[in-house]
């Protein structure tokens, strides 16, 4: 047959079709990987199982922070098409405009990624949604963890949780839109330990989003790994006691265990109730806290540098001793202050001349003007500028003008100026007289309460400190980060500390500036400070540690507009020390009057309205009565309208 050759045309066509299909297959399966990735997102739904977040207990094992389940309504924006929007909005109780806004927000990051569309469903709404959600395949409920607090305080320390930002979403693929993470405090600093690891369950879904069972026999499923529990160094009792004492005052307290660097308490006032920043009300409450003129979100203890005032004299003495320009027997006269040309630094009346220990106990300004000048005008340095630079190095070794490295975010390094700073103001050849106020901790110096507490701990340790830390150990194996165990030595040799300690011991003894605050049976070594404040009354400062030997607690108290150090800061510090050292916390204070006076004092209203005045703070009693008449600012932002 002459047509039999056409068989080869048929075979040729078969080969051609085979080649075309193979090439096409190669393109679809090997070259174009987009189909592969699309497949990952279409055929299976990944259900995220949120782990329980680590709890936080205080140093005595008392639970401070724990978890509660919340239910978020999630949406996969890409699939949110052709559904009865009006019906869903009606059930959720939000209007369509709001719903559209949220949907748009949810789509902003990645339309394939599930995002929260309705946060923290109420019990009723949760039940209702479970009944109707089968009609809305793009929506589902995700169980998440939210925080609950056993404590009405320590807010700055513990920190709050918040929705992960878009920037963070890009940086850390662990998070998905609507996830909450630690935003401040321990929650932020220890986020990676606390958060654990999300589990996932990959379920097959058909095109109606009906689940078809576990994918690949659960090969890709994983159980969530719970976050690690954290043992905080905080003493919850002391923390709450400090918060009571600072109520209606502005200021902060930092207490450290000198032997370990463990932070026992960080108290700020004003503060807020951590329970405000959880759940559905978080955003609303956060905004009102942010707008509150008292700035309750501001962590003074770590971020607010105060002039250290006379508390700084302890450091000046130590530097002078180490530099060899000061000895325990060195005496300087004081005739109502220090006079140098046109400059006078005033001083209160006291016996004169004084040697070192009594200069601390009585806080003589003239003494330290002499000490400071002898340090920076020391002829062994070619110039006052070099002497000053050497002095700043000493300060740095006390972590002043530097961050202490505390395990909390957002720490201020305080204010310690470089010598060049003064060149701009006083010219190239500025003199020690230009910076004389630094000798008594005024002027161009600012220390955070944390730094001052750390100075106190360093003196308590006679020359070294451990980086202050609020966390004691992490997880079941009590992991302690190595940096917590590094001993930092100051540039001042240990042998010089005893004289200063002896001087600080006299502060709470008769003749000392804070002798009224002494508490029977406890050797409290302290130093008062009164920081000039251009905006109002002086700030009341006190640093202290106790007992004198083997100190258990070092503390710094700042009470803004509290006047002299002995007026508020010293009594509060001594009460804190008494409370901490007491084995039985229910035992009444040995200074019940002082305790009552401190608890009842109301300086917060005065702080805002009072005009700046030259006079030192009037007696606490008189002030209290005037202040109490003023309405106290609302404590809870929620109630504000």
């Amino acid at each position: 047959m002459e047509k039999s050759g056409r068989l080869y045309v048929f075979i040729g066509v078969l080969v051609l079709v085979g080649v075309i299909f193979t090439v096409r297959l190669f393109f679809l399966q090997i070259v174009d990987t987009s189909n592969y990735y699309k497949a990952q997102s279409y055929g299976s739904n990944e259900i995220v199982i949120h782990p329980s977040r680590g709890t936080i207990v205080d140093r005595n094992g008392k639970l401070m922070v724990f978890n509660d389940a919340i239910y978020d309504l999630m949406v996969v924006p890409e699939k949110a098409k052709n559904f009865d929007k009006a019906y869903l909005c009606r059930e959720l109780g939000i209007d369509t405009a709001e719903f559209n806004k949220r949907l748009k927000k949810a789509s902003r990051y990645n339309i394939k990624e599930p995002a929260v569309i309705y946060k923290s469903l109420s019990k009723e709404l949760y039940t209702r949604m479970q009944e109707i959600l089968y009609q809305f395949p793009a929506f589902y409920i995700e169980t998440k963890i939210d925080r609950r607090y056993n404590i009405n305080g320590a807010a700055h320390l513990l920190g709050y949780m918040g929705e992960v930002s878009e920037k963070q979403l890009k940086e850390d693929k662990y998070y998905r839109p609507g996830d909450i993470k630690g935003i401040s405090g321990i929650e932020k600093a220890y986020e990676i330990y606390l958060r654990g690891k999300k589990g996932r369950k990959v379920v097959l879904v058909d095109k109606f989003s009906k689940q078809q069972g576990s994918f690949a026999g659960g090969k890709f499923d994983s159980l969530p790994i719970p976050g690690q529990n954290i043992v905080s160094a905080i003493d919850m009792d002391l923390q709450q006691f400090g918060e009571e004492l600072l109520k209606n005052k502005i200021g902060s307290i930092v207490a450290i265990e000198p032997a370990t660097g463990e932070v026992l308490a960080i108290v700020n006032s004003p503060n807020y109730d951590p329970n405000l920043l959880v759940g559905q009300q978080r955003d609303k409450n956060f905004n009102s806290l942010l707008l509150d003129p008292r700035k309750p979100l501001f962590n003074r203890a770590l971020k607010s540098p105060y002039p250290p005032g006379s508390t700084f004299k302890t450091v000046q003495a130590l530097i002078g001793l180490n530099e060899g320009v000061l000895h325990s027997y060195t005496k300087y006269p004081c005739r109502g202050g220090y006079h140098m040309g046109s400059i006078t630094v005033g001083c209160h009346p006291h016996a004169s001349p004084l040697e070192l220990e009594r200069s601390i106990a009585q806080s003589c300004n003239a003494y330290y003007c002499n000490v400071y000048r002898s340090i920076i005008d020391n002829p062994k340095y070619s110039s006052v500028q070099d002497g000053y630079t050497q002095w700043t190095k000493y300060l740095n070794s006390f972590s002043l003008g530097m961050k202490t490295g505390i395990d909390l975010p957002e720490e201020s390094k305080g204010i310690v100026k470089q010598s060049q700073y003064f060149e701009k103001i006083f010219g190239k050849n500025w003199r020690s007289s230009n910076v004389i106020s630094l000798s008594i901790g005024q002027g161009e110096v600012g220390l955070t309460p944390l730094q001052m507490a750390n100075v106190s701990a360093t003196i308590a340790n006679r020359g070294f400190y451990y980086t202050p830390h609020v966390v004691r150990s992490i997880g079941d194996n009590n992991f302690v980060p190595a940096e917590f165990k590094v001993k930092h030595r100051t540039m001042v040799a240990p042998e010089f500390f005893d004289t200063v300690v002896a001087g600080m011991a006299k502060v709470t003894q008769p003749g000392g500036t804070a002798w009224r605050c002494s508490i029977e049976g406890i050797d409290i070594c302290g130093k008062t400070g009164t920081a000039q404040n251009p905006h109002g009354d002086h700030h009341s400062l006190f640093i202290a540690f106790a007992p004198r030997d083997n100190p258990k607690i070092a503390i710094c108290v700042v009470v803004e507009n509290g006047g002299a150090g002995a007026a508020y800061a010293a009594p509060i510090a001594c009460l804190m020390i008494e409370r901490y050292l007491a084995t039985d916390k229910t035992q009444p204070s040995k200074k019940p009057d002082m305790l009552k006076r401190m608890l009842e004092a109301n300086l917060a209203g005065a702080a805002i309205y009072q005009l700046p005045g030259k006079d030192p703070a009037p007696a606490a009693g008189t002030k209290d009565t005037t202040a109490k008449k003023k309405p106290a600012p609302a404590a809870l932002p929620v109630k504000k309208k």
Binding site: A39, Q40, Y42, K207
Partner: protein
């Protein structure tokens, strides 16, 4: 029966491989993850085993039947099937918008599947008749008549896919003497059709004009070729200009849809684009909305199919492990889109191996057809190969997104009793005829 059955075992083995592989894929596409009892007859994969059983029985019967029966009764079978199609058209039992069924108990019979078998028999019978050649107007007209009658009846049932399959008989006629130019013309017109949709008509006509001028200049000394060039150009231009009209007016919206989706065209854009060129499209604006409603479905099918196949990568997810398959994301996956399961679960390696096996079987059928001594067997063999090839080409081309979505099954693979039984009948009737050829030879010596 005295003669030994000299059946072509290679084809039988390939057939068995494909049928079993098909059942595996139906199982995979159709079973949910938890319940996986193989012989669950309430599920499609369970039913497919019943169909395989019935097919095996029918195959056995065919092999036992005297080969002369097929030649003898071909017109009768043809008449019965045509009658069935007419009855269906009159009573009208339509499902899935297209296919027409006969209900026998709980089983549904789809006569259009058997129409191909009957047409192949009738065509073979006619061309195999004494001294009949594919020559002369009368014979050619009768051949086309045999093909067009069931084709038209299927088309009237709105089953465009099945009707289109009858075009595969053109290949048979080509083997029997139809000029290859007709095939080239067909391909040429299809190409022009696709280009017309993709590009503005005037561009194509312009390009053709340049080609025609070049052609005429090259053969300027041969008058006949000059005339040919002019005629081809004029006819093409007319075809192009009329195509838009044909496309807009004569094709149904869902058909336009399928074609546009395959060519990656957006329906709205297409109409706005075309409306600028020709006023007739403006009138159609009304239809556009209706088309849009169904647009998603077609593009969805193709997109899901591509994703599913693409998910397989080199080695695939393995049997019963395709996420897309298991999630039932591809509509009609156990029937028309069964190739997606292969693509996803067996990857590039498995898919090409499958294509190879399948094409080997089709090639073997053509090879066997060519070696037939009598025209009846040869025409029937070529019909068998062409029909299976046409189904294969359209079905996989559709799954791969290179051809429009035309709902026709992949022979021996897709779920469905009528399909499996009719293709098995087709194949084994031919194998029976082929086996007889060997007997004939053995008788000769």
């Amino acid at each position: 029966m005295e003669e030994k059955i000299h059946i072509d075992w290679l084809t039988v083995i390939l057939y068995i491989i494909i049928v079993i592989f098909g059942a595996m894929n139906i199982y995979s596409a159709n079973s949910s993850v938890e319940n996986a009892f193989l012989f669950d007859f309430s599920r499609e994969y369970g039913k497919q085993f019943i169909w395989i059983g019935i097919s095996a029985a029918i195959v056995f019967l065919i092999l036992l039947t005297d080969f002369k029966f097929f030649n003898f009764s071909s017109y009768g079978i043809y008449a019965i099937v045509i009658g069935m199609l007419m009855v269906l058209l009159a009573t009208g039992s339509f499902e899935r918008g297209a296919q027409a069924w006969f209900r026998i108990g709980s089983f549904k019979l789809q006569p259009s599947e058997f129409a191909k078998y009957a047409t192949a028999l009738a065509l073979a019978k006619f061309l195999g008749g004494f001294d009949v050649k594919f020559e002369g107007k009368k014979n050619i007209l009768i051949c086309f008549g045999i093909i067009f009658l069931p084709m038209a009846l299927t088309l009237l049932q709105n089953d465009t896919g099945s009707a289109l399959v009858f075009a595969s008989f053109i290949l048979v006629l080509y083997r029997e003497g139809l000029s290859g130019w007709w095939l080239i013309l067909g391909v040429y017109l299809a190409l022009i059709f696709v280009l017309t949709i993709l590009l503005p008509s005037l561009y194509i006509i312009g390009t053709l004009l340049i080609l025609a001028v070049g052609f005429i200049y090259f053969f300027r000394k041969q008058k006949q070729l000059i005339v040919l060039g002019i005629v081809v150009f004029a006819a093409s231009s007319f075809f192009i200009l009329s195509l838009d009209f044909v496309f807009a007016k004569l094709l149904q919206p869902h058909q336009q849809q399928r074609i546009l989706v395959t060519l990656n065209q957006d329906v709205d854009q297409y109409y706005t684009k075309k409306a600028k060129e020709f006023s007739i499209f403006k009138v159609e604006k009304k239809h556009v909305d209706k088309k849009n409603a169904s647009k998603r479905d077609y593009s969805y099918n193709v997109r899901q199919s591509k994703i599913s196949i693409g998910a397989g990568r080199w080695w695939g997810n393995g049997f019963n492990n395709g996420t897309q398959t298991k999630a039932k994301l591809v509509p009609e996956q156990h029937t028309d889109f069964i190739f997606c399961t292969i693509g996803e679960e067996y990857g590039f390696v498995g898919s090409t191996a499958f294509l190879l096996v399948y094409l080997l079987m089709i090639g073997r059928i053509f090879y066997l057809a060519e070696r037939q001594k009598n025209i009846f067997s040869r025409v029937f063999g070529y019909s068998t190969g062409s029909i299976i090839f046409f189904h294969f080409f359209i079905n996989i081309g559709m799954a791969l997104g290179v051809l429009p979505v035309i709902g026709i099954p992949l022979p021996f693979m897709s779920y469905g009793g009528s399909s499996l039984i009719s293709f098995s009948m087709l194949l084994f009737t031919f194998l029976k005829l082929d086996a007889n050829r060997v007997n004939e030879i053995s008788r000769l010596y």
